[in-house]
C-alpha cells in the first residue's frame, strides 16, 4: 500500500514539529511538504498533488479558508484550529474532520484513519459552503482569489467590474482582464457583498458602481451599459433586483 502523502500547513514552526513528531513512526504516512503560510500551501498542493492537507485556519497571507477555496477540490483536508467558534460550528454542520490544538497523537491517528478510508473510497472533498460559513459574521472577504497554476491572483472586490458564468467556470472581469475560476455563479454570488453586487441575469453579476445607464431595448428587456461602454443583458427578475438595490 502506498503511503498517504501529506502536506502540513501551519505558520508556527513548533506546531509543525509536533505533527512531524507524531507521524515519524507511521510508515504509511509521508509528509511531502511543510508550509508556513497560505501561498506556500496552495503552491505545494498544486505542485505535489498530496492525498491530504493538514491545514491550520489562522495563517499569514491566505488563511485556511482561502486555501480551501483555492485547492479544496483537489485534496482532502483536515483542519486544525486553536479556537474558532464559527469554524468549528461549520465543521460540525458539514461533518468535516478537524483537530483542536493541542491534540493528541491518538486524535491525529483517528483523523488520519478516517481520511485514509475516504481516500480509499475515492470520496473527497470539503463542501464549498465552508468557505463562507466558517468565518465570523461581519468578516466578509474583500478580495477574490484565483489560482493560475501554482500562482495566486488577488483581486480586491472593489476592482471587479462584473462576473460572467462560463460553463464550469466563472469569469471575473477586472481592469480589462478576464480571470477564470472554477466555481458556480451562485457560489460567487454568496461571496460577493450584496450591497454592491447584483445578479442581473442568469449569467451575470454586476458591480453596481460600474453601471452608467439602463436601456430598454425590447419589450420587458433591458441592457446595462457600463462606464466603459460594455453592454450586459438584464433579465426581468434581474431588473427588479437592480431597481431594489439602486432605487
Amino acid at each position: 500500500m502506498n503511503p498517504i502523502r501529506i502536506v502540513v500547513a501551519d505558520d508556527e514552526e513548533l506546531a509543525r514539529s509536533l505533527v512531524r513528531e507524531y507521524l515519524k513512526d507511521s510508515l504509511d504516512v509521508q509528509i511531502v511538504a511543510e508550509c508556513a503560510n497560505g501561498f506556500q500551501a496552495v503552491k505545494a498542493v498544486s505542485e505535489l498533488k498530496p492525498d491530504l492537507l493538514l491545514l491550520d485556519i489562522q495563517m499569514p497571507r491566505l488563511d485556511g479558508f482561502e486555501v480551501l477555496d483555492l485547492v479544496g477540490r483537489e485534496t482532502n483536508v483536515i483542519f486544525i484550529t486553536a479556537y474558532d467558534q464559527y469554524a468549528i460550528r461549520a465543521f460540525d454542520v458539514h461533518a468535516v474532520d478537524y483537530l483542536l490544538k493541542p491534540f493528541s497523537a491518538e486524535r491525529l491517528a483517528e483523523a488520519l484513519d478516517r481520511a485514509r478510508k475516504k481516500i480509499a473510497r475515492g470520496e473527497s472533498t470539503t463542501p464549498a459552503a465552508l468557505v463562507t460559513e466558517g468565518r465570523a459574521p461581519g468578516t466578509r472577504q474583500d478580495r477574490i482569489l484565483i489560482r493560475d497554476g501554482s500562482d495566486v491572483h488577488v483581486i480586491p472586490v472593489a476592482k471587479i467590474d462584473y462576473v460572467e458564468a462560463q460553463d464550469d467556470y466563472v469569469c471575473y472581469r477586472t481592469e480589462g482582464k478576464r480571470l477564470l475560476k472554477q466555481q458556480t455563479l451562485a457560489d460567487a454570488e454568496t461571496v460577493l457583498d450584496a450591497a454592491r453586487f447584483v445578479r442581473i441575469h442568469r449569467s451575470y453579476i454586476l458591480n453596481v458602481d460600474r453601471l452608467a445607464k439602463l436601456e430598454l431595448y425590447a419589450k420587458d428587456s433591458h441592457a446595462a451599459i457600463l462606464r466603459d461602454g460594455t453592454r450586459l443583458p438584464v433579465s426581468r427578475s434581474g431588473y427588479s433586483r437592480l431597481n431594489a438595490l439602486i432605487g
Binding site: 505558520d11 508556527e12 514552526e13 513548533l14 506546531a15 514539529s17 509536533l18 513528531e21 508556513a36 503560510n37 489562522q58 499569514p60 497571507r61 488563511d63 486553536a82 479556537y83 474558532d84 483542536l100 490544538k101 493541542p102 491534540f103 461581519g138 468578516t139 472577504q141 474583500d142 478580495r143 488577488v154 480586491p156
Partner: protein, 357 residues
C-alpha cells in the same frame, strides 16, 4: 403570606405545640368537683380558636421589630395586641359557654365560666406573648436563611463575573496555541516545555491578580506585558521582535489593569501573525509633565493585499471606554495608519498613588 401557612410541616408543629395548652386549660377550668364533660366541650375548642388567633402575632411582630430605638414602642404595641386578642378570646369563650349552657345536665356553666374570667384573660395574654416570641424566632431564622442564600448567590455571581472578566482578558487563541507549543516542546525540548509552563502560569496568575484591581502602576502593567511577550516569543520565534522605549518616570503612574497588554496582543495578532517574515513592534511609554503617553506601533500587510482586519476595533473601543470612565474627556485615544504601519496612541493624565484626581 404567613410563614406558618405556606409550610404544612411548620403548621403541624405549631398546632401540636398547642395540645399541651389545651390540656392545661382543661385542668384549670375543670372546677371542683370536676365537671369533665362541660370542661372538655369548652377548653379544647377555646385552645384551638386561640391557636389560630395567636398566628396574628406574626403581623404584630412585623410592625413591631425588637430593635434598638423603637424597642419601648414595640413592647407597648405587643402588650396592647396581647390584651386585645385575649379580651376577644374570653368574649368568644363566653359566647360559646352561653351557647352550650342549655344543653348541659347541670346548669350554671356561664356563671362558672365568668368566675374564671381573670385567670383566662391572664392566660390569654401569656399565650399571645409566647406566640409572639415564637414568631420573632421564626422571622429571625427566615431572615438569616434568606441572607445566607443571598450571600451564596452573590458569591456565585462574583465568581461568574471574575471568570467572564478572565475570558474577556485572555484570548482563547493565545491560550490554546501556547498549550500546543508546550505539547510540541515536551519531547524535543523538555526544559523549554517546562519554562513555557512556568511562563504561562506566571502570565495567567498576574492577569488574575492585576485584573481584580481597579488601578495599578504602569510598572506592574509592563511586567505583565513582558511575561506575555516571553510566551509569544516562544511561539513566533524570530518573527517577533520588539523595541521598547519606556521612561522610568512613568512607572508610578496609575492605569486601569490590562490596558497595555491587550494592545500588545492586538499588535501581534493583527501585525505580526499575518506577516510571513514577521516584524518589529514598537512600544513607547513616555511622560510629558502630567500627561502619560502610550504608543504602540505594528507593521501591517501592504495595503490592498490584506483582508480588512476588524476586531482591533472592539479592543480599542474597550480601551476608550475604560479610559473615559477614569479620566472623562482628559483621555485621548487615537489611531493612525499608513501603508506599512499601524499605530495606537493613548494620552491621559498621570496620577500617582495617593494623589487625588
Amino acid at each position: 403570606v404567613h410563614p406558618l401557612l405556606e409550610n404544612r410541616q411548620r403548621l403541624a408543629f405549631y398546632l401540636i405545640a398547642w395540645l399541651p395548652v389545651a390540656a392545661i386549660l382543661t385542668i384549670i377550668l375543670r372546677r371542683d368537683p370536676a365537671r369533665w364533660l362541660e370542661t372538655l366541650l369548652l377548653a379544647p375548642p377555646m385552645a384551638a380558636i386561640y391557636a389560630f388567633m395567636c398566628m396574628s402575632a406574626w403581623y404584630v411582630c412585623l410592625i413591631a421589630p425588637i430593635r434598638g430605638s423603637s424597642l419601648a414602642r414595640s413592647l407597648g404595641t405587643l402588650a396592647a395586641a396581647a390584651a386585645l386578642s385575649s379580651a376577644v378570646w374570653i368574649l368568644l369563650g363566653e359566647i360559646w359557654a352561653v351557647a352550650l349552657d342549655p344543653w348541659m345536665t347541670t346548669s350554671g356553666l356561664t356563671e362558672r365560666y365568668s368566675a374564671q374570667g381573670a385567670t383566662i384573660f391572664a392566660i390569654g395574654i401569656l399565650l399571645f406573648l409566647l406566640a409572639a416570641a415564637a414568631h420573632y424566632i421564626l422571622i429571625a431564622v427566615d431572615q438569616h436563611r434568606e441572607a445566607e442564600k443571598r450571600t451564596l448567590e452573590m458569591q456565585v455571581l462574583a465568581r461568574e463575573a471574575e471568570l467572564k472578566a478572565l475570558r474577556a482578558q485572555i484570548d482563547p487563541h493565545f491560550l490554546f496555541n501556547s498549550l500546543n507549543s508546550i505539547s510540541a516542546l515536551t519531547v524535543s525540548d523538555p526544559q523549554g516545555a517546562r519554562r513555557m509552563c512556568l511562563l504561562l502560569a506566571d502570565f495567567l496568575r498576574s492577569s488574575l491578580v492585576l485584573g481584580a484591581k481597579k488601578e495599578i502602576p504602569v510598572s506592574d502593567e509592563l511586567r505583565l506585558v513582558e511575561s506575555f511577550l516571553d510566551i509569544e516569543k516562544v511561539r513566533y520565534g524570530k518573527r517577533l521582535s520588539i523595541i521598547r522605549n519606556v521612561d522610568p518616570n512613568c512607572h508610578g503612574c496609575l492605569v486601569p489593569p490590562l490596558l497595555i497588554q491587550p494592545l500588545v496582543e492586538n499588535a501581534i495578532r493583527h501585525g505580526i501573525a499575518p506577516l510571513v517574515e514577521g516584524g518589529t513592534i514598537r512600544m513607547d511609554v513616555q511622560r510629558e509633565g502630567t500627561v502619560l503617553e502610550i504608543i504602540l506601533e505594528n507593521p501591517t500587510e501592504p495595503s490592498g493585499e490584506g483582508l480588512a482586519k476588524d476586531g482591533a476595533g472592539v479592543g480599542l473601543e474597550n480601551v476608550r471606554s475604560r479610559l473615559s470612565k477614569l479620566f472623562a474627556n482628559e483621555a485621548f485615544v487615537g489611531v493612525s495608519q499608513d501603508n506599512s504601519r499601524f499605530q495606537v496612541r493613548l494620552r491621559f493624565p498621570c496620577i500617582q498613588f495617593g494623589e487625588t484626581r
